[in-house]
């Protein structure tokens, strides 16, 4: 092979490369899109879970809204208070306020409380059991206890108690709503953490038929209605709290409930499950 061939091929390749490089350089100039440099910086500071609790499509979507000033750093409930401060400092805005919300379960019928009509031996997920006679549960509105919510929670904020109920850790919950979507019985709601009064039942049966299937069901006895007029009303076989009139709420309403369907929550739901935690720790 003579050296001329070698040089020629190197020259051609080099020339073609140079030509394309020039094209790319021109295209870069021509199609340049200016991006707020803060966007990249903010994106780096966000948690990156893409949980969607803020209501925007992922952390990047939130960062874009943040940079344009359409939302405040406080809307991200996953970041710690310090991290929010840092983001606010970078952006030169106020941290803002957002009501802290947590996921609450509208059922308290665990293994000890709810009646089972039949044994379920199929696929061990709530979604599958819901299609087969509610997994044999006496109350077909209630929690199936197979932990679909605990599996989808990316923050490990939900664990299944020995009683077969999901326990939400209020400190870890970011109110992203994944459990709300996962529950085939629609038992999860996201409610402000400062509200303590909750009807943890979805059973629409009245009176004895209700308590026949679950010890802690709302049996529409109307005691709560009499005790806190305007705040709690019985609607379609269930006590309903009017959260617009929440200023009337007090632990008394929960104390009046004979079955335990209405509770006054402080911190974790199902406090009896805490015993299990203590046991595990010791």
């Amino acid at each position: 092979m003579n050296p001329g061939d070698f040089l020629l091929s190197a020259g051609i390749l080099g020339g073609v490369g140079l030509g394309f490089a020039l094209l790319i350089a021109l295209a870069h100039r021509r199609f340049y899109v200016w991006e707020d440099p803060r966007l990249e910086a903010v994106s780096q500071m966000l948690p990156g879970n893409n949980c969607g609790a803020c209501g925007f499509p992922g952390c990047r979507g939130f960062a874009e809204e943040l940079v344009t000033g359409k939302t405040s750093p406080a809307t991200c409930t996953v970041m710690s208070a310090d991290q929010r401060e840092e983001v606010a400092e970078l952006m030169g805005v106020e941290v803002g306020t957002a009501a802290l919300r947590v996921a609450r379960l509208l059922c308290a019928g665990g293994r000890d409380e709810a009646v089972r009509r039949a044994e379920y031996v199929g696929l061990q997920t709530c979604a599958a059991a819901a299609a087969v006679s509610a997994g044999g549960r006496g109350c077909t509105w209630g929690c199936l206890g197979l932990g679909d919510c605990a599996r989808v929670c990316i923050f490990d904020a939900i664990w299944m108690s020995d009683n077969g109920l999901p326990v939400v850790e209020p400190e870890l919950c970011t109110a992203c709503g994944d459990c709300v979507e996962a529950c085939p019985k629609d038992l999860f709601i996201l409610m402000p953490a400062e509200q303590n009064l909750l009807v943890q039942c979805r059973n629409l049966l009245d009176g004895e038929p209700a308590t026949d299937v679950c010890r802690v069901a709302c049996n529409t006895c109307r005691r709560c209605e009499a005790d806190a007029p305007g705040l709690i009303t019985i609607r379609d076989g269930l006590a309903v709290i009017d959260y617009d009139r929440y200023d009337l709420a007090s632990p008394a309403a929960a104390a009046r409930c004979p079955t335990g369907a209405i509770v006054w929550l402080e911190g974790r739901q199902f406090p009896e499950a805490s015993i299990q935690l203590e046991k595990a720790a010791s």
């Binding site: 549960r137 077909t140 979507e181």
Partner: protein, 441 residues
């Protein structure tokens, strides 16, 4: 007309176990002490109750009217007093609103005299209205309101009525006994339906494992109409309407379309017999034939059951459970739903009650997928259950839609052949429910 070429591709051959009840004549169940009529017994919107607590109703009275066009009314299946309208366990596994009627003891249970016009003198609209007011729905299981099938839109001319006598689900013999014992009613049903649809031709598809049914229907074929009987190879799920059209006529119903889009209406033989009964006796759909079978019941049989009879009463009339009864299923063993409560009522769509014994329902451990591809060879609608199954386990529902989850009819063929015992169809049931929920949300 024996046929070798009339079939569809894929499908499975489960043992049919029809020997338990195939030769047991239909008998009538005595009226129970109480009947429960759920307001939702058909595809479409639930009916609206028009009676109140304490009202007296005669047998055959309308107790709930159709809520809109895509719905069906419900009639009292026995004379008595309305005890309550309340939530009651429903075969679908929820509590649903139902009308509970205390049946009058020592009542002759006579029908309130109804004027039964000769059907031949009625116009098409009057015929359809009579069927609608009688609350007739498809009795093959899906409970699709019959009057909707009778009134296809004008842009879909119907040329053929396909009569479904396959009964491909194992164990069930409801349609089989209907054809053997009431072939004339089936023929009258075909006649009425053809005149409503303006179709020229009817083909009755019956699987070859029911020779007495084929003989009975062939014997009663009318001379003045183009009705023929086709004996089909035994294969599951031949009774699915789109597959039956493929088998009988060689036409394919496109995905997302209905049989009427290819000029066909499919109706089950039991529904046709009921339509005929409406014009013969004036009886609305207040009773249906139910197969009670399985090795967990003492006296399996085929019974005429008032709609709304509680499962408990029906099982008692069949001698009760044997000592090794384990599971009660509504419908066939392939697509049926296990029941958790003996208080659930028999509805219009309940084709059979199967009580499985210990050794009929061994629960087996499920293993990992070995990618053998048996499920692909079994799927009658040519889906890939293996991919769908792994997507369902991972909760990737949108991708499942891209793999045509909507075309899956949950026939269970993939689950039946899976050597790893993966509960594929149950995964798909759950996935479909989740997809529906996410779309609503």
């Amino acid at each position: 007309m024996p046929s070798l070429w009339h079939t569809f591709r894929h499908g499975v051959h489960p043992p049919d176990h029809k020997e338990l009840t195939a030769s047991v004549p239909i008998r009538r169940l005595p009226f129970p002490a109480e009947i429960v009529l759920p307001l939702r017994q058909h595809a479409g919107k639930p009916a609206r109750p028009i009676v109140r607590e304490g009202d007296r109703v005669e047998r055959g009275d309308t107790v709930a009217e159709a809520d809109g066009q895509f719905s069906a009314p419900i009639h009292a299946s026995a004379a008595g007093r309305v005890a309550a309208i309340e939530f009651w366990p429903h075969p679908e596994g929820v509590h649903a609103p139902a009308i509970r009627i205390e049946v009058e003891r020592y009542s002759p249970q006579a029908l309130r005299p109804r004027i039964i016009p000769e059907w031949e003198g009625l116009t098409r609209e009057e015929l359809i209205a009579a069927v609608r007011e009688s609350g007739v729905v498809g009795l093959g299981g899906a409970a699709f309101p019959a009057h909707i099938k009778l009134s296809p839109p004008p842009e879909c001319p119907i040329d053929t009525l396909v009569v479904n006598g396959c009964e491909c689900e194992p164990y069930l013999t409801t349609d089989h006994r209907t054809m053997v014992e009431y072939p004339d009613r089936v023929q009258l049903g075909i006649r009425i339906m053809l005149s409503c649809l303006g179709a020229k031709r009817a083909v009755v598809g019956i699987e070859r494992n029911k020779p007495d049914a084929i003989a009975a229907i062939t014997r009663t074929l009318p001379a003045d109409l183009d009705v023929s009987v086709l004996d089909l190879r035994v294969k599951y799920p031949q009774g699915a309407e789109k597959l039956l059209i493929q088998t009988v006529l060689g036409r394919q119903v496109p995905s997302g379309k209905l049989p009427m889009h290819v000029g066909v209406v499919v109706q089950n033989v039991a529904s046709l017999a009921t339509i005929a009964e409406v014009f013969e006796t004036g009886l609305p759909l207040i009773e249906r034939i139910v197969t009670v079978t399985g090795r967990g019941i003492r006296n399996p049989g085929n019974l005429i059951v008032p709609v709304g009879t509680k499962l408990r009463d029906l099982l008692d009339a069949c001698g009760g459970f044997t000592s090794d009864a384990r599971e009660v299923v509504f419908g066939g063993p392939m697509m049926g739903v296990a029941q958790a409560d003996l208080d659930v009522p028999i509805t219009k769509g309940t084709t059979g009650v199967i009580v499985l014994s210990e050794d009929e329902c061994k629960t087996q451990q499920s293993w990992a997928c070995i990618r053998c591809g048996h499920c692909l060879d079994a799927c009658p609608v040519f889906l890939n259950p293996q991919i769908l199954g792994s997507l369902a386990k991972a909760g990737r529902f949108e991708e499942m839609n891209a793999h045509h989850l909507a075309d899956c009819m949950l026939c269970g063929s993939c689950t039946y052949v899976c050597p790893s015992n993966i509960p594929l169809s149950q995964l798909f049931v759950a996935a479909k429910a989740q997809v529906r929920k996410l779309k609503v949300a």
